[in-house]
Point group: C2
Chain length 276, copies 2
Amino acid sequence: MKLFNKVVIIGTGLIGGSLGLALKEKHLVSRITGLSRHRRNAGLAKKAGAIDYAAVSLEVVKDADLIILATPVEAIIEIALKIAKKIKRDCVVIDVGSTKEAIVSRLSRVIPNFIGCHPLSGSERRGVVNLESGIFKNSLCIITPTAKTNKKILSKVSLLWRRLGSRVVILSPEVHDRILAFTSHLPHAVAFSLIGCIPAKLLSLSSAGLRDSTRISASDANLWGEVFLSNRKNLLSCLSAFQTKLAVLKLAIERKNKKLLINILAAAKKKREKLG
Amino acid sequence: MKLFNKVVIIGTGLIGGSLGLALKEKHLVSRITGLSRHRRNAGLAKKAGAIDYAAVSLEVVKDADLIILATPVEAIIEIALKIAKKIKRDCVVIDVGSTKEAIVSRLSRVIPNFIGCHPLSGSERRGVVNLESGIFKNSLCIITPTAKTNKKILSKVSLLWRRLGSRVVILSPEVHDRILAFTSHLPHAVAFSLIGCIPAKLLSLSSAGLRDSTRISASDANLWGEVFLSNRKNLLSCLSAFQTKLAVLKLAIERKNKKLLINILAAAKKKREKLG
């Protein structure tokens, strides 16, 4: 069953392009037009089979039934404001940005059928060369409606993600941002700082542990700079909580307090094991 | 070619047991006797084919040609002191502990042919159920001789690790500990603190990024408590360096200094990409 007829994906990078592939693979939409800031990328996405048409102008949104905003956070708002007056009245617009409060509060005012989405399928790899339709399968997608969101459209958008194999969780944009600050933005901030403090000449002697724990620091700097700033307050309080935890661990080592130290490590281990 | 005749492995957990398996698979030794604090573990290691005999008393070290100390750090010194007077004069003794200065400085005084080794093949998984002969292949093994180490024995021990597929790097115990504080002990301390500060009820909404960056916090608490304390000074200065990096990142976010923020993230990304 087709869920939407004409789809426009704006931003044909890893998430946007992979979404195109997945929607086509599952036959959920009739045709997909892709747009990219860099014209070459939309062409590559077409070659990869992620979109049917590569467009060069935002005018293509005019007859779209579903628009997917898949650019970095700041550009999502910028582009949405540009297209708000061009789209059909019943056009559904979703985004896939990593923070939701700023985007949803701004866009729900200008686009009646806007629904914020956050598929947790990102990766430190980016761009059209890494497209993969399977990244949404068994993955989490958080949808962040407001009190005003049309329930029928919310159901339809939820169904779309579930059809791609995602587990859908509904949260308010504010709760989403508070939670993601802990579960995603803080780990990224920590990973960037961890690799940042390791002398470059020692990298050849690193272990699998260092590689794993800093993998996400190979993520795009501009994209994550925008995420950090758009979820600034929540992230700052998570960073403070982390600094306190680290300071206590450091103190236990400083004072050779083996009992406290092992208690801290054992509690952490126990919590990590729940993560699977 | 057999490198050693009679081998005794003390501590038949993940590293000790896997070493047994690998040595037998490559036919590098004639027979292996295993000892474990928990008698049951040595029995399981025998069943798994990692050792030929499961012993219950340290007396078995008497006719050993090679003894491998594969217990946690503190027990390595304790056991080595116990066996020092029982072993043959030409018996080679190696350990596989994660810190080297304390162990090597103490043991090289009582065991003439002691050579500190550190195969970077550990894992957050432990114990006899996870034995795997392949964990040394394409992995790094750091060997930490002293000025007094017999060169022929050093060559033989290096050859043993290379035969198991490891890349051998020779460092002094002091340099080893300074480097590993950065490349292994700091990432562990950070991972334990990161998972420690995340509210337990949010774990179900975590992403692959959080899972990767905290994987090593599922490591054994006692083992890592000992590692942290036995490399205390080096680790404390690494923790300070990390705290500074994190504070600068936090300040950039606090002050909405996007340029500085993106510079920090881009430098980190560039360094991480060198790690492969």
